[in-house]
Symmetry: C2
Subunit: 673 residues, 2 copies
């Protein structure tokens, strides 16, 4: 070891230790975030402007949903100077109690949702007050808050708020009651902020449009700096199922968490504590945990030692406990995934919408989460660039930090070459005519920073995203295979149907003999029932579908045809066909074609109208009541319609085994390189 | 506007507002970070282990440097259970005063460097206490701190520390004086932490190795879980120049910042405030700012209104103010960049080390920063994958979150096709046999999160990285062009030198005439002085260099040869050659070859030994004293050796104009997509 070569500066190292000690001091959380504005998302002027609108809009949506009020939100953006804007966001939420207004808007780390395990957009009590702070700092002006609560008291309140960064406390410079004409209840926040107004993918308009897509129960009005007004109308009158608050799930809990819960619990015994303070712990499970841990259930929870807690944690890992309840989550569902994809397409017409996947809920660090994914492919989606990735978390579109996001890392870690997309070396963002959408809903989305722009790379979450993507991709691959088979079969059939009569004609001409009728011969050669499916765009939101069934066999045939239609797009044309049998709640439709003679065709046609009409893939058609071996152009109906198309073919284990090289461990490490 | 369709939940919306108000509460910063562990870098077990070591090592290095003590750091990692480790990091720093120990290690947002504008690894007062907290939570055990300060008092202190997450205050469970045998001064921290031990690119070993490379003044000893000891010896006895604390630079300051400074200043007048509290504001500049802003210099700073502050901020933007002082920064420099690159190569031998670039300091949000970049190319670096990117910030290697980092985004935004690397569409990480290193030194590196893994995408910083990369890449391109020209010229010469005599031989044979001597003819045809440069690896750290000068002209020639050698690798073999003229401090060497007759050759050979020997590119050779037009294989000496090779060829403006399509604005937006 070296040891002697110390160079002494001004003072011995002992003096330095004392000098350093004198400099030690507390840092307020506001000072911290002021100095680290980029962690809040304020790292460029254009992003700051979006953040300003996003935080207020998230808050407005959360407030309305919490009060079961269909949200009506008006966002107004005014340009004051070249790079100074006034943002005003008004909602019809329940309003904020007068005395809480200063803390909610003027103090960081202050809020109502931090300790609650339920899905909401805002959680940390930072976003809106950080935005107020950023406005204060960049323009020197306060935020003006107006709020009205429903009730006897017709008075509304308005106040101007600064944040004191030294103390993290609000400074209210103006506080007055007023009459808010025509307003029953709601909140409005107006602040001035430095920002840059840009157009394109990361614009305010795009952010609000994407927000409207995944929040179809909200009506959002946007007045842009040029005075133009855009109204994103409500697409449904139904509020999303209200997410419930749950107790923490024991899985993934750390010793320290358990110690903290144990010292704070109201429960008198350890058994009661385990059973009542956590979700999915029954009496039986509590007993199993206690006996494995060798801990008495009758002791007082605060008396649990570190060793007791460790024992309990180890026992929890060993005991099988039900997955967390899911009613705390609100996935967006198949229809909204398709609509989200359709909106980005902006009129482009893809070939195929892969069946969107909504995974079963899982837990990460005790927080339940659900992953959803969708893919569109082909048509006139540009094929020469990397695929576009649309990211959503708790119904909020994520516009920035794509590279940092677990969603992107999951996309990059899938070997897309197996699923028909181009990808150099089987890693990285694939190339081709596709758009991928992923939504994560959770009681706690682990964002990489307070700007809430990217999901952190937790192994459990990344794994679920990968599985959702692979399921979706398999569906796509199945379609691509089907299309390839179809085009090959069609080519063969064309030869038989066209060339054979042609040849026969030529031969009979040469021999000067009458042209023979080959219909029977062709049927004998082919010996299939051929189902041709076509879709034709009739207008902006209208398509017509035609199934033609050719009986190229030598017998009369009876069969049923099945397809899953976007239910909301179905119109009268479907039901007037007397071969129509029934349609269930999910839009699964059956027709019966009975006694189709040899060499004859039957046609089923109907129209679909409405936004989702475009997402229908007629190739996904199934047959029953006939041996599927002699059917070309449709698959045999898999067992029962009650089972979803994909799940019956692919279990997680299949998917996981298929790509064993990409297990969680590797994904975690590689994803982060 | 819709308005009627409110569905009332349990209670009117007014009741809900009151219910929500009751839930509003303060969140402690510790609770916040406990729930958002991933923001601190604790998002996977393998990363958590690295974080545990990194935070303690950063602190140890900072403490030693602050006290001018050449660091001696010992890192011990013991495996307690499969995924539970004990980390111990001991340094020879100045030690920590007894009464400060609890707050430094047991309280978040508490530290000495937060308000100081100078380059240091730790800044926020979060890292080490967050690690203590993570250890507490995952294992239920306290951190044990031991510290000794130099001085009369021979007593050392040791204490066990927990963090109370509810209050963000330390809980000391054990506090005792002891005698630390053989220790003059220093600190040791030992904690238990859940983690996963992995090997490879993101291992503890790699982290410490990379740390040692960019901190050659430190000696780092690592004992791994298998009991193996690795010693990264000190490579230099010289401490890096101590970074100085500076005053804030006025550029990029926001109104709110100015208001805060003005209300806290000790200065009596606004003029004195501007002049004394900011860097680079002289009397003249203060007057210019005040007159432009229309603000009196004699007023009291706390009396400045918002409008005054706005005027001053606008004036600052309009007045030319010197760049921030640079003595607060400590770049790593050319030699360490090359060494860093060499270490990653692990014995691979590249063709070329592009001249590393250290940019002039710039400021972002008032914080000075310097960007440095280096590239190695070719040889046996694998050419079929994306290039490797090595990222450093304030001498700390960044191992995770590459996708989120401004360095990566800058690499992706450069069109590398112009510089000889493969890159689809001119965007994204290029492919090819290259490794890119970037270091950012700043008084405040804007990390995207508290895990300090990625640099946030501030436009000013990304722009500087792009410029550094392009300068480096141009140098690479110059080399590639030179190599291409050389190989073409060589091919032509081979034809002349070999084919011409061959043809003459054949012809004379056919004509049965004596074979003519073509030397003079060849010289006439060629009419060049040809310089051939070769380098041969002689051993692990030894190369021999050979310059051969062919005089293919018809006259006697005298010329000087110049090359820049890695000075520390030069040995006696260089000086024994009597054509050697001189070598300057930077390793620039000259030789003189006098009166070389036509058709004759001269050889200059020498050896280089030492670590950097491999980085020498013999092709970068220059000539003087001869018209460079008749020289092949070397360039004319550009003006004067005093001017660096690249700077004279490329100014920022050239570079910026060259790629005008990639201006800051676009880089900012695209980088974030």
């Amino acid at each position: 070891m070296h040891s002697g070569e110390r160079k002494v500066g001004n003072g011995s190292s002992g003096a330095i230790a004392h000098r350093l000690a004198a400099k030690q001091q507390e840092i307020s959380v506001t000072e911290f975030f002021e100095k680290n504005k980029h962690i809040l998302g304020f790292d460029s002027r254009s992003k700051s402007l979006i953040m300003g609108i996003k935080e207020a809009t998230d808050n407005a949506l959360d407030a309305c949903e919490e009060a079961d009020i269909p949200p009506e939100i008006t966002v107004t953006l005014e340009r004051m100077e070249d790079e100074v804007f006034c943002i005003c966001v008004e909602d019809n939420g329940p309003g904020i109690v007068h005395k809480m207004m200063p803390n909610v808007f003027g103090r960081l780390l202050y809020g109502s949702r931090f300790h609650a395990l339920r899905q909401s957009r805002g959680q940390q009590g930072i976003g809106i007050s950080a935005t107020v702070m950023y406005g204060n700092i960049t323009t020197g002006r306060p935020a003006r808050i107006m709020s009205k609560i429903e009730g006897d008291d017709a008075v509304s309140w308005r106040m101007d708020i600064f944040i004191d960064t030294k103390t993290n406390r609000p400074i209210v410079t103006n506080d007055e009651a007023f009459v808010w004409e025509g307003k029953d209840h709601g909140t409005s926040i107006r602040y001035y902020i430095k920002g840059r107004y840009i157009t394109g993918k990361q614009s305010v308009f795009e952010y609000l449009k994407n927000t409207a897509i995944v929040n179809p129960h909200a009506m959002i009005t946007y007045r842009d700096p040029d005075g133009k007004t855009f109204v994103f109308e409500r697409a449904t009158e139904t509020m999303p199922p209200k997410s419930k608050e749950i107790k923490p799930h024991p899985e993934g809990m750390e010793i320290g968490d358990l110690q903290k819960y144990a010292s704070a619990t109201q429960q008198k015994t350890v058994r009661a504590f385990l059973k009542n303070d956590f979700s999915r712990i029954t009496d039986r499970i509590a007993d199993e945990i206690l006996s494995r841990a060798g801990v008495s259930g009758e002791g007082k929870p605060p008396k649990l030692t570190r060793e007791d807690c460790k024992g309990i944690i180890d026992a929890i890992a060993a005991v099988k406990i039900m997955a967390p309840p899911t009613d705390c989550l609100s996935p967006i569902g198949e229809t909204l995934i398709k609509k989200g994809l359709m909106h980005v397409l902006e009129g482009l017409r893809p070939d195929y919408y892969a069946t969107p996947v909504t995974r079963a809920p899982k837990a990460a660090n005790g927080n339940p989460f659900v992953v959803e994914a969708g893919i569109v492919y082909g048509g006139d989606i540009p094929s020469d660039g990397p695929v576009a990735i649309l990211r959503f978390a708790n119904r909020v579109p994520l516009l920035y930090q794509q590279g940092a996001c677990a969603i992107t890392k999951a996309v990059e870690s899938v070997d897309w070459r197996r699923y028909g997309l181009e990808q150099r070396g089987g890693r990285g963002i694939p190339y081709g005519p596709a758009i991928i959408l992923v939504h994560i809903a959770s009681t706690k989305v682990p964002f990489t920073s307070e700007g809430k722009e990217a999901v952190a790379n937790l192994p459990e979450i990344q794994n679920e995203i990968c599985l959702a993507l692979r399921l979706c991709a398999r569906n796509l691959k199945g379609h691509l295979n089907k299309m390839e088979r179809k085009s090959k079969t069609e080519a063969k059939f064309r030869i038989v149907r066209e060339l054979l009569p042609d040849m026969a004609g030529k031969v009979s001409e040469m021999l000067d003999r009458p042209r023979p009728d080959l219909t029977g011969t062709i049927s004998k050669i082919m010996n299939v029932v051929w189902i041709d499916s076509r879709v034709k765009k009739e207008g902006k939101k209208k398509v017509s579908v035609l199934y033609t069934v050719y009986n190229y066999t030598t017998q009369e045939r009876t069969l049923r045809l099945h397809a899953k239609l976007p239910k909301e797009c179905v119109n009268l044309s479907l039901f007037t066909d007397d071969r129509f049998l029934d349609m269930n709640d999910e839009g699964k439709v059956s027709w019966e074609i009975s006694s189709l003679p040899p060499s004859r065709t039957a046609e089923i046609s109907f129209e679909l109208s409405g936004e989702l009409a475009d997402t229908f893939s007629p190739e996904d058609v199934y047959v029953s009541g006939i041996n599927p071996i002699i059917v070309m152009g449709a698959e045999g109906l898999p067992g029962d319609w009650g089972i979803k198309g994909l799940e019956i073919l692919e279990t997680d284990t299949d998917i996981e085994e298929e790509e064993q090289t990409e297990d969680t461990e590797e994904a975690e490490d590689l994803g982060d390189e």
